[in-house]
């Protein structure tokens, strides 16, 4: 099992950075927000996240970048509750604060990769795809959605990357009809020696992990948990693993799928 190089993240200490929204525009039901970290020298790895302040809200919101270009960090935010609704309405020029970089990151496994995601889970996966391509891996992306609403999202995230992209819609309105896990199953059944990476709703990651494990392929997921501190101090983000209870913000968010007690 490749728990290689970067799996346990770096001990690089996080800090609290002033950030500014320098661009924000809609991608259908999602919002692409670009944050400037000025010259902080900060480097994110795919899978790491930041904990972003939201005006009028007490707690910060964890978000996993879709990419970094110099001091600019790209986020995809899907409005969910009041905090993310507020975030997507903020105008460029808004100044926020971000704890960053937080958490561990996806390992770059040997061999080719399949990325299976949905919604804003595509953000860290696109970041990872770029990294994997830089390492010379072939990358297949399976993106699932209820309908065609993520067309803009996948174009924006994967458009410039040399990946094999397949879109799955449950209602058949775009790409293949059905769930991306079905395609994952086909792929692995055909003997592909790939590493599986999945970020999306719990049910998707669980299903992807089950398929990967059934075919004995390594798989990594990014576990979502309600977070307060984001740094390991409040113990709110408990996840159960085979080596005991862990905390997604500090021991994760990336976990080997076989380690997780689903």
């Amino acid at each position: 099992m490749p728990r290689s190089l970067e799996f346990h993240g770096s001990a690089a200490a996080w800090d609290d950075y002033p950030v500014e929204i320098i661009d924000s525009h809609s991608l259908g039901p999602h919002q692409r927000i670009v944050l400037s970290f000025a010259d902080s020298g900060l480097r994110f790895k795919p899978g790491q996240f930041l904990n972003l302040s939201v005006p009028g809200h007490l707690l910060r919101r964890p978000l996993a970048p879709a990419g970094q270009h110099g001091s600019e960090i790209e986020l995809i935010v899907t409005p969910f509750g009041p905090g993310t609704h507020k975030l997507v309405r903020l105008k460029p020029g808004s100044r926020l604060r971000a704890l960053a970089p937080l958490g561990n990151s996806f390992p770059v496994a040997p061999g080719d990769a399949v990325l299976i995601g949905a919604g804003a889970g595509a953000a860290p996966l696109a970041f990872l795809a770029a990294r994997l391509l830089a390492y010379g891996r072939n990358v297949t992306v399976l993106h699932g959605a209820p309908s065609n609403e993520d067309a803009e999202l996948v174009r924006a995230l994967y458009g410039g990357l040399e990946v094999q992209l397949e879109y799955f819609s449950e209602d058949g309105s775009l790409g293949r009809t059905g769930l991306p896990t079905a395609a994952l199953h086909e792929l692995l059944a055909s003997g592909a020696e790939v590493t599986v990476y999945s970020v999306g709703p719990y049910a998707l990651m669980k299903a992807a992990a089950a398929v990967a494990l059934a075919w004995r392929r390594p798989a990594f997921v990014s576990l979502d948990a309600h977070m307060a501190c984001g740094v390991g101090a409040c113990l709110s983000c408990a996840v159960m693993t085979k080596s005991g209870q862990k905390h997604a913000c500090k021991d994760g968010p990336v976990f080997a799928a076989e380690e997780v007690r689903w």
Binding site: D16, L58, A228, V231, S236, A238
Partner: protein
């Protein structure tokens, strides 16, 4: 001149700002931001005899200017902390308040006994369920609470603070604890609350209800510290929604000698440090000291 210095139960604190139990773990996560010895003290995450896995997730959710938590007292058990965290904290030169709890009075005492070499103060968390005492938690059962304090006092030489809960009347409990020999009080723990998930038509928290903390509860904290101060001659560690020097001063006026910063650390990890700086500036400008403010709202006009 150190305007912030304060003596509390015979211990000299360079400033009155401590971290609140459960919001700073054992300090490791924040130690790279500022020296932990610069804080008045670190209050550790509540510690029990045996490890506790805690409550089902979600364990936290946000509310208007507050948050609910139902961590379920997760901790690694006293033995683990004696191996690593407590010796490490002492090495940092930090003053340490160890927050202890248990299922029964004897468990509280045993944890207190074991952590004493590393603790400047023991804080007894009475808000935990009194598993063997019917439906009331210790905090609302004066006799059970007093028994806890008696046993803890017998088990340690360290001064013992009883942490009171705002979910019921505090004066009858405080009186019973005084009779049991408590050295001081710490308050407030969280208020019980709940938030609903409209999509699932269920409470959001895995544990259904949780403890409300943050700025929303500050007025309740100020009032309870004020009320307790009138009824006790023992010193008070006040907390509840403190996020600024002004908040800390409100609690001081009400009667707190030390103040804890809790939820504010989640909003801003520098919060405890910022409160210290803010107090120093505010008091320097006025040529006053922190001690001048303790209980000052009670002095006759």
């Amino acid at each position: 001149m150190n305007r912030l210095e304060v003596e509390f139960l015979g211990i000299r604190f360079p400033n009155p700002v401590v971290t609140a139990s459960g919001t700073f773990n054992y300090g490791l996560e924040y130690a790279h931001l500022y020296p932990l010895s610069a804080l008045g003290a670190i209050t550790t995450k509540g510690t029990s005899l045996e490890p506790i896995a805690g409550a089902p997730t979600p364990r936290i959710t946000e509310t208007p200017m507050g948050m609910l938590n139902a961590i379920g007292l997760e901790n690694k058990g006293v033995e683990a902390y004696l191996q690593h965290e407590l010796p490490w904290l002492k090495e940092q030169g930090a003053r340490v308040i160890v927050n202890v709890f248990g299922d029964r009075a004897g468990d509280f005492a045993e944890v207190a006994r074991r952590v004493s070499p590393y603790a400047n103060l023991i804080e007894v968390n009475l808000s935990c369920p009194n598993v063997h005492g019917g439906r009331l938690p210790f905090a609302h059962d004066p006799q059970a609470a007093a028994e806890v304090v008696r046993r803890v006092k017998d088990a340690t030489e360290r001064p013992v603070l009883a942490k009171l809960s705002p979910n019921g009347p505090i004066l009858p409990v405080a009186e019973a604890l005084e009779a049991a020999g408590v050295d001081g009080f710490s308050l407030i723990n969280t208020l019980l609350g709940m938030r609903m998930d409209l999509d699932k038509k269920r409470p959001i928290l895995g544990n259904a209800s949780g403890g409300l903390s943050g700025p929303a509860i500050k007025p309740v904290a100020v009032r309870l510290v004020y009320e307790l101060y009138r009824h006790t001659d023992r010193p008070i560690l006040g907390m509840g929604g403190v996020a600024s020097a002004a908040d800390a001063l409100e609690l001081a006026l009400a009667g707190a000698s030390l103040v804890a910063v809790g939820t504010a650390t989640f909003s801003n990890p520098y919060a405890p440090y910022k409160v210290i700086k803010g107090l120093d500036e505010y008091l320097s400008e006025r040529e006053e000291t922190w001690r001048d403010w303790i209980g000052a709202a009670h002095t006759p006009n």
